[in-house]
Amino acid sequence: MTQAPELPRLDRPLELPPRPLDAPRRRAPSVDDLVSGRARRPSAGPPLSQRSTRYARAWIRRHRISLIVLSSLLVVVGIVHGVGMSRMPLPVDDEGTYMAQAWAVQVRHALTPYTYWYDHPPVGWIQLAGWTFVTHAFSGATLAVVAGRRIMLLYALADAALLYLIARRLRLSRVWASVAVLAFALSPLAVNYQRMIYLDNLAMPWMLAAFALAMTPRRRLWTFGASGACFAVAVLSKETMLLFLPALVYQVWQRAHRTTRAFCVTAVVSVFGLLVAVYPLLALLKNELVPGPGHVSLSSAIAFQLSGRQGTGNPFNATSQAHSLVTGWLHLDPWLPVAGLVCLPVGLCVRRLRPLAVAELIALLDVLRGGYLPVPFIIGILPFAALLVAGTGSTLQGLLRWTAQRRTWAALKGGVLLGAAGALLVFVVPAWASGLRTQMATDQVTPTAEAESWVENHVPRTDRLLVDDTVWVDLVDHGFNRPYGVVWFYKLGSVNNLDPSVRRTLGAGWRNFQYVLETPSMRAALVGSGSRALPQVAQAVAHSVPVVSFGSGVDTIVVRRVTTSTGHSSTSTAPRTAGGTKSSASNSTKAGNHT
C-alpha cells in the first residue's frame, strides 16, 4: 500500500481563509470622476464563455489524477457489472413491475398500468421511464427486463463515481477511495442486487449524492439545499431511504461551520421536507389521502406498509423469512457485510466517519427489528459498509505511521499490513472471483425469453393469461393488449394488493383465464400460507395442465393451459416438483415480494 500524500489529519479544525475585506481594494474613483460620469464605465472582464472554458480547464488540470483513477475504476465496474447482466440473476416479478410502471408512464401517461395504490412513491419508475424513453427500451428487440438492466448499469456507474467522491471528501487517499469503490463494485452480493431493477438502485445515486453534497468542502448554503433536494428524490424513489435522514442531518451538522450551521441544517431539512410533501399533496389532490369508499388511499397504504404487512421475523430465528433472506445475502458474499460490521465501531469512534457509521447502524438495527425486511434492503447498507472499510483502513494506516515513528512499533506496521494483505488474498479474492464468475457466466434469463416467444407464437391473442409481472410488458407489447388480457397474478389476491380493480373486473376469478405462465416467483408466492392468500391463483394452477416448460430445476417456467374440468389437476402439477423445493434464497423472492 503506497503512502498517499493527503493522509487524513484526524479532525483538524477547519480554518477560515483571511477575510476578504482586509485585502487592499482597488482605489475608489474621485468625486470629480463620479460626478462627471467617468467612473460609470463598467470594468471590462473576459466574456462568460471564455471564463467558463478557463475555469473548466483549470478544474480538469487540478483533478486530472483523480479523473484518471476514477475512469479506470469505472471501466472495471462497467465490465464486472455489464458482462452477463442480461443473463444473471433470475428475473423476478418486482423488476417486471417497475418496468411495467415505467411503460405505463411512457406509453399511457399514467403512473401504473393498474390503479396506483401508493405502494411506493413514483419517482423511481418515473426516472426509469425517462431512461426507457431515451434508450427505446420498449422497442421489442429484447425482454423489457433486460432493457431495464442496461439502464441499471448507468446507476451502478453513478454509484461508483459518487462513492469515490464521498471517499475523497472524507479526506481518504486515492488508494483508499479506490478500495471503497472496488469493495462495493466487486462484491458478488452488490453486483447481484445492483443488476436488478429495484427502486433501491434507482434511489441510491440520489442518496449518495445527498451525502456527497452534505460533505461540501466549501460549505456553501446552496450545496446543502441541493443535498436536501437529492435526498428528497431518493426518498420519493424508495421510501426506505428515509431511514438515513438522521445520518444525513448529522453529516450536515458536522460539516457545517459553527457560524452558519443553523442555516445549513435548515436548508437541508426544509428543502427535503417541502419536496417530499409533494407526495401527500399529490394524494390530496387526487382525493386519495384518507380512506374512503371506492378508492385507494395514501394513509391506508402507509398503514399497510408499516403494520398491516406480515413481518419477516427475527433474522436470528432459523425458521423466519428474514433468516433465509439474510443467509441468502451472506451466501452471495459474506465478506463485505461482515467487514462493514467489524469496521462499525471504528467508524463510530472516528469523527469524520461517524455519520456514515450512524447510517449503517440505523440500517442494521432495522434489519434486527424483526419487522418486514424487503429483499433489496441490503443495497442501502453496502455503500456505507464499503466506505467504512476504506475509512478504517485509512485510519489504521495513519495510526501505524504514527506508531512507526517509535522504533519499537516499527515492526508491527509491516506485520499488520502483510497480515491484512495475506488475509485478503487467501479468503476474499477466491471467494469473490468464484462469485463473480457465477454472476458473469450463468444464464437464468433464457427460459423466460423462450417461454415468452412460445406464448407469442402459440397462444391466441384473445386468450387471457395469468402471469408473473416479469413478462407483462413484453406480452402487452406483442399484441395481448386488450383490457385485462394479461394479468399480474397477485392482483387476484389480497396479499400486497390494496387495488381492487382486477378482482372487481374479473369476478369469475381463475375461470377468466385460459393460460397460466408459472414462474419461480409465482411458485414462491404460493408456498406455505401463500396459497391461502392467493386462492384464485392456486386454483388456476390446480385447474390447469402443463403444456410446455423451459429451463430446469427451481428456475423452470411452465406454460399451463387452464381446463374447466378438475380431474387431472393432481396428475403433474409443477408446484410439487419445483415450488416445493426450497428455492435458493439469494434469487427467489418472498410472497408477492413487492418491496
Partner: protein, 450 residues
C-alpha cells in the same frame, strides 16, 4: 385551457420571484467566509493624527418626546472630531426648545438649524443642514435612534479601510415582542441589514437606509444633496450614487447597530410602508437606475424597486391559486405546478425561525416559544398586510397624493432606566406592551428607513 396556461405562467413567475427573494435574504449565510467578512471587522488604529471629521444631522419634527435623549447620546459618542446638527422646523417651537436645551447642555458639540422650507419633509430638512456641515463626512440619524457610543470609530475605520464614498451602518428594530407585526418587522430589518444590503453593496447597486448612513460631504454637495420631491429620499440617494459608480461599504456589527422601534400601531406601519413603497415607485419612475453601467445591475435595480409589488402579488395569488385548484378542477399535474411558489415561501419561513433565534442571540434577547408560534401564524396576515400597503401606494401615486405620512415614535425600543432627559418621553421596557401612540401629525417627517 387559457386558465390553465395563465396559472402555469403565473406559478412559474412567482416561483422565480420567491426563489430570488429567498436566496438574497440568505446572502450573508452563503458560506462561513462570507458571513465573517460582513462586519466592521477590527478597528483600524493609527489614523489618530488626522481623523475623519463627522457632521451628524438629526432632523426632528414634533419629536420632543425622544429628541433630547438622542441628542445627549450623540453628543457623548466616543470620538474626537464630530458635530451634531439638530434640524427643526420653524413652525415647531416645542421640538426647537428641546434641541436648544440639549445644545446648551453640550456646549459646541450640538448646533440647532432651523428649517424654513415648505412643505416640510425629511429631505428638505437634510438639505438645509447640509449647507452648514463642516465635517468630512455627513451622517444621518433619526430623532428616536439609539446609537452605540463606539459607532463613529468603526465607521471611520470602514472609510479608511475600504476607501468607500458611502458607509451604511446597521439599523435594527428591537421591540420584537410588542406585537405580532413588530416581530415580523424586526426580522425584516434583521435580514435586510444583516444580509441583503451586503448583496447590494457587492453588486454596486444599493438603496441606502434612512439613517446611520454616512456620505462624504464633498460628494454629497457635488450631487446637490437629497431629492426633496421623493418620499424615499434615502433610497433615491443610494440609487443616484450607485448609478454614478460610487463605492458603498456596508458595515454591520450587531452590537453597533442603531436601534429603533416599529410603529406603535398597524395603521402606523401601514402608512410607513405605503410611503416606502410609493418612494420606491417614484425612484423606479425617475429612472436614474437606467444609467447603471451593467445590464445585471439594471435588472437588479428594476427588480428591487418593483419588489414591494411583486411581493404583494405573491401574497394575493397564493390563496387565489388554492381556490382555483379546488373550484376549477384543474389537472393534478398542473395543480402540483401551481403549488411551486409555496415551497420557497415556506422555506423562507423556516429560515425566519432560525433567523429569530440568531437575532435573539446577537442582540441578547431571548425569544420565547410564543414568539416562534407568532412568527409562523403571522406569515399569511403579514403577506396580506404587505399586499395592502403595496396596493395603497399604487393608488396614492396614481392620484398624485405625495404628502408625507409621518411615523410616530414612543421609545418602545429603549430599555427602561435610560436617564430620561426629555421629561415627556414615556419609558417602555423592551418586550412590554406598546405604549400609547402620540397623536399623529399630518405633515411631518423623519421615519426609520431601511
Amino acid at each position: 385551457m387559457l386558465v390553465a396556461l395563465a396559472l402555469l405562467v403565473v406559478s412559474l413567475c412567482l416561483f422565480a420571484v420567491a426563489m430570488a427573494t429567498l436566496w438574497w435574504m440568505l446572502h450573508a449565510w452563503r458560506t462561513p467566509e462570507v458571513f465573517r467578512s460582513l462586519g466592521f471587522g477590527q478597528v483600524v488604529t493609527g489614523h489618530a493624527e488626522s481623523p475623519l471629521s463627522f457632521s451628524l444631522i438629526v432632523p426632528a419634527r414634533h419629536e420632543e418626546a425622544v429628541l433630547g435623549a438622542t441628542l445627549d447620546q450623540l453628543a457623548d459618542l466616543d470620538y474626537s472630531a464630530f458635530e451634531v446638527l439638530a434640524v427643526v422646523g420653524h413652525d415647531d417651537p416645542g421640538t426647537k426648545e428641546v434641541a436648544d436645551a440639549a445644545a446648551r447642555r453640550h456646549g459646541g458639540r450640538i448646533r440647532v438649524v432651523v428649517d424654513h422650507s415648505w412643505p416640510k419633509n425629511k429631505p428638505s430638512a437634510l438639505n438645509t443642514a447640509l449647507g452648514d456641515c463642516r465635517g468630512d463626512v455627513v451622517g444621518v440619524f433619526d430623532a428616536e435612534d439609539e446609537v452605540h457610543p463606539r459607532l463613529l470609530r468603526q465607521v471611520a475605520g470602514a472609510f479608511d479601510r475600504s476607501g468607500a464614498h458611502v458607509v451604511q451602518g446597521g439599523v435594527q428594530l428591537v421591540n420584537f415582542q410588542s406585537s405580532w407585526y413588530s416581530l415580523r418587522n424586526c426580522l425584516e430589518y434583521f435580514f435586510w441589514f444583516r444580509s441583503r444590503l451586503h448583496l447590494h453593496a457587492e453588486r454596486r447597486f444599493i438603496p441606502l437606509g434612512g439613517n446611520t448612513v454616512f456620505v462624504r460631504t464633498d460628494l454629497l454637495l457635488a450631487v446637490s444633496g437629497w431629492d426633496p420631491m421623493c418620499l424615499a429620499e434615502d433610497c433615491e440617494l443610494g440609487v443616484r450614487l450607485s448609478s454614478l459608480g460610487a463605492r458603498v461599504d456596508v458595515a454591520y456589527e450587531p452590537m453597533l447597530a442603531t436601534r429603533e422601534e416599529t410603529p406603535g400601531t398597524l395603521r402606523g406601519l401601514l402608512k410607513q410602508r405605503t410611503r416606502w413603497n410609493q418612494g420606491f415607485l417614484q425612484v423606479l419612475r425617475k429612472g436614474e437606475w437606467r444609467r447603471l453601467p451593467t445590464r445585471g445591475q439594471r435588472t437588479l435595480a428594476r427588480y428591487t424597486l418593483a419588489m414591494p409589488f411583486l411581493q404583494a402579488f405573491t401574497g394575493l395569488v397564493i390563496p387565489l391559486s388554492i381556490y382555483s385548484m379546488i373550484a376549477l378542477k384543474i389537472p393534478v399535474a398542473l395543480a402540483l405546478v401551481s403549488f411551486l411558489p409555496v415551497i420557497p415561501t415556506l422555506a423562507a419561513l423556516a429560515f425566519e425561525l432560525v433567523g429569530l433565534r440568531e437575532f435573539g442571540r446577537v442582540f441578547y434577547m431571548k425569544p420565547r416559544a410564543y414568539d416562534y408560534v407568532r412568527l409562523v401564524l403571522g406569515l399569511f396576515p403579514y403577506q396580506l398586510f404587505l399586499a395592502g400597503a403595496a396596493v395603497r401606494a399604487v393608488v396614492r401615486e396614481l392620484f398624485g397624493r405625495r404628502g408625507w405620512e409621518k411615523t410616530a415614535h414612543t421609545g418602545a425600543h429603549r430599555p427602561a432606566g435610560v436617564p430620561a432627559t426629555a421629561p415627556t418621553r414615556p419609558a417602555a421596557p423592551v418586550g412590554g406592551p406598546a405604549p400609547e401612540r402620540q397623536p399623529e401629525p399630518t405633515l411631518t417627517m423623519a421615519a426609520p428607513r431601511r
